[in-house]
């Protein structure tokens, strides 16, 4: 028998989360897109290729690198490790950590590599997040612009990383069980696993995703819009009423 609380968190909430997240994020972006660009506001010199500019920014965080080197370190390491962790979650769970077999590794070597990269990503995120938290609490200017929500988001992400790292380093998580659970979610016949730490982990993840569309986390989507708007040469909406 599944624990009712576990069923709530892992059997019902995920559907609510998915709905809120997708509708919230897509809706916000559609609303942004509906608003006109009445005047040209390109910051000059405009990049010669906006798409390349955005890609370069995404990969290297070049703007922060130029402005605040320590923040660049924290921000870049966190986001790169986050990307690594997200990719790792998809492959690790889908093929049970055998993703490196395609590159010529044996099954057990692949599992070791997966654990290695996962561990690096988890520790990298933790160290970066602790630095960012330290920065937010100790640098006067950053303190001055921080609201409770800025700390809450940091603490929530740290909680997710801590529970994830705990499972990585101190537990033997049965990936097949997780994969079956996710499969059960997709087939609308949810069967939550019994792993309590996993349940806590996905509970925090869902809290974050529920909050995501209504928070500053939308900078992840907004960045594409703002850099496009400010970087594209002479971008402007057609006159109102014009065909």
């Amino acid at each position: 028998m599944t624990n009712p609380l576990a069923f709530l968190v892992a059997g019902i909430l995920p559907y609510v989360t998915a709905l809120v997240f997708v509708v919230g994020v897509v809706g916000t972006m559609m609303r942004w897109n509906r608003v006109r660009v009445p005047l040209r506001i390109t910051v000059t010199p405009a990049p010669s290729n906006v798409v390349a500019d955005i890609a370069y920014e995404l990969l290297f965080f070049k703007t922060l690198f130029r402005s605040t080197r320590a923040l660049w370190g924290g921000g870049w390491v966190f986001h790169v490790c986050l990307a690594l962790a997200l990719i790792g979650h998809v492959f690790g769970i889908a093929v049970l950590a055998h993703q490196f077999v395609a590159l010529g590794a044996s099954a057990s070597q692949s599992e070791q590599l997966s654990a290695f990269f996962g561990g690096i990503a988890g520790l990298g995120m933790l160290v970066a997040l602790l630095y960012l938290l330290y920065r937010r609490t100790s640098v006067r200017a950053v303190q001055a612009i921080s609201d409770a929500s800025d700390y809450l988001v940091l603490l929530l992400v740290i909680s997710i990383v801590l529970t994830g790292n705990y499972m990585r380093f101190f537990m033997q998580v049965d990936l097949a069980e997780i994969r079956d659970y996710l499969g059960s979610l997709f087939t609308l016949n949810p069967a939550p696993p019994a792993n309590a730490m996993f349940l806590v982990h996905i509970f925090f993840v869902q809290l974050l995703l529920l909050y995501f569309p209504y928070s500053k986390l939308m900078h992840s989507c907004g960045m594409f819009f703002t850099r496009w708007l400010m970087g594209k040469r002479d971008l402007v909406s057609p006159r109102e009423g014009a065909a």
Binding site: T44, A144, I145, D147
Partner: protein
């Protein structure tokens, strides 16, 4: 923060009749501000995106001359935008409605508007934060929006309103009547005759000239060398040109507080150009006026049938085409260049002044940071009020530090607002340097 009894906010204008706006009772202003913000967030994409996309990383803080100079946390660009964002969140976002305390949402009150008035008139709309923000959040866009809202509420500095009134009455910011303008023109022509032995004209209202030159009105009084430089340049290049007595003002203060005023100014210039049947318009040494022309006029005004270029571009072309000859030994001093924000970041004039200076002066040195990373002079966006001189000196501190490090004797600033602010900022921060326009040096170096 008040020092030496100096008020920290610009004086308020009493007479706003020019704007023709309905009067809003003070107690209704906060509610009306919320309403106007609600309309603007549906009309201006940048404003909407900037409300939603700040990660509060704080990278902007150390890049803002206003925060660096005043050390007031509300002058951190992210905090400045937050002054509007707080209200936006409270009334227009889900979290701000259900948990205002957690996300930093706040009701709009009289105090909110007082903060807006204080801090949006300590932002020079210089856009340096946008260069250093990973999201390219441009505080200038939010400052423009907040000031526009305040204008509609009847909260406008006396200084900028006075300039708008002068512009309306006389076609220039200084309120110079036509006769005085003609006097000044004759005086400058006489000066040039004595200096060069040549009759170099400053034509007024000459129909059918190639170029309508639109200088800053301060070029007739405070910076006559810039006007002389322009006259010599056109004369040497053989370009027929004229100024228009309907408008001798390239500085468009509408940009700083009201779109309607901005549009009216540009219309006046377009009409002057039509009346005089010129082929094109050349804008004088001004940063934001240029940005208005280059970026805003095509959308804001119905028809712009004239090519327009900046006097600095004009000078560069004449040099490239060999139409003017220059002798750099006329300018032997150590010269550095201040990149006006609205030219470098606002409308892409970066290489042109360097090309020109490289040929008209003997000893040019760059200052750092420069180009699109240049610090603002601290006077941009109409912050030239005498009553906040102490604040202006603080706003000019970052620039003063850049200039001091060059050891230059002459600081070139091809922008009338910079020319008015820089002497105050340099003296106030203990930097000895002479501020000049770029055309001043072109004028010196031209071989006639």
């Amino acid at each position: 923060m008040t020092t030496g009894g100096t008020p920290i906010k610009p004086f308020l204008a009493k007479d706003l009749s020019l704007l023709g706006l309905p009067e809003i009772a003070p107690e209704n202003r906060p509610r009306k501000a919320v309403e106007l913000l609600g309309e603007m967030k549906e009309q201006i994409r940048s404003l909407r995106l900037f409300m939603d996309s700040c990660a509060k990383c704080g990278a902007c803080a150390e890049q803002c001359h206003s925060y660096l100079g005043t050390q007031d946390p509300n002058n951190i660009p992210a905090a400045r935008v937050d002054l509007v964002r707080k209200v936006y969140k409270r009334y227009y976002t889900t979290m701000g409605k259900i948990a205002p305390g957690i996300v930093g949402a706040e009701d709009a009150t009289q105090e909110t508007l007082e903060q807006w008035y204080k801090y949006f008139w300590q932002c020079n709309e210089c856009r340096r934060c946008a260069v250093f923000c990973p999201m390219k959040i441009d505080t200038a866009e939010v400052t423009i929006a907040a000031r526009q809202i305040m204008t509609k509420l009847g909260i406008v500095p006396k200084f900028v309103m006075g300039i708008a009134n002068n512009m309306h009455k006389t076609g220039n910011n200084m309120g110079i009547p036509v006769l005085a303008l003609k006097d000044s023109v004759e005086f400058l022509e006489q000066e040039m005759l004595e200096e060069t032995g040549k009759a170099i004209p400053i034509p007024v209202d000459q129909e059918g000239a190639d170029v309508l030159y639109n200088p800053s009105s301060s070029d007739f009084f405070a910076n006559p060398d810039s006007m002389i430089g322009a006259a010599k340049m056109f004369y040497a290049a053989g370009t027929t040109w004229t100024i228009s007595s309907d408008i001798v003002e390239t500085a468009n203060f509408g940009l700083f507080f009201d779109k309607g005023v901005m549009k009216e100014h540009s219309n006046r210039l377009l009409n002057a150009a039509r009346k005089l049947k010129v082929k094109r318009i050349v804008g004088g040494e001004c940063g934001h006026g240029w940005r208005t022309w280059k970026m805003f006029t095509p959308e804001l005004n119905d028809r712009v049938e004239f090519p327009i270029q900046h006097a600095v571009e004009e000078a560069m072309q004449y040099l490239q085409q060999g139409r003017i000859k220059v002798d750099p030994s006329a300018n032997p001093e150590k010269v550095t260049l201040h990149d006006p924000c609205n030219m470098a970041r606002g409308a892409g004039i970066i290489e042109e002044p360097r090309y020109v200076l490289g040929r008209v002066v003997e000893n040019f040195v760059e200052m750092y940071p420069n180009r699109e990373k240049s610090f603002c002079c601290g006077g941009g966006s109409g912050i030239l009020m005498d009553e906040i001189k102490e604040t202006r000196i603080k706003l000019g501190k970052a620039k003063a530090d850049s200039v001091r490090a060059t050891g230059a004797e002459i600081l070139v600033a091809p922008c009338a607002i910079c020319k008015a602010q820089l002497p105050v900022a340099m003296e106030g921060n203990g930097v000895e340097v002479t501020v000049k326009g770029l055309l001043d040096l072109v004028g010196n170096a031209i071989v006639l």
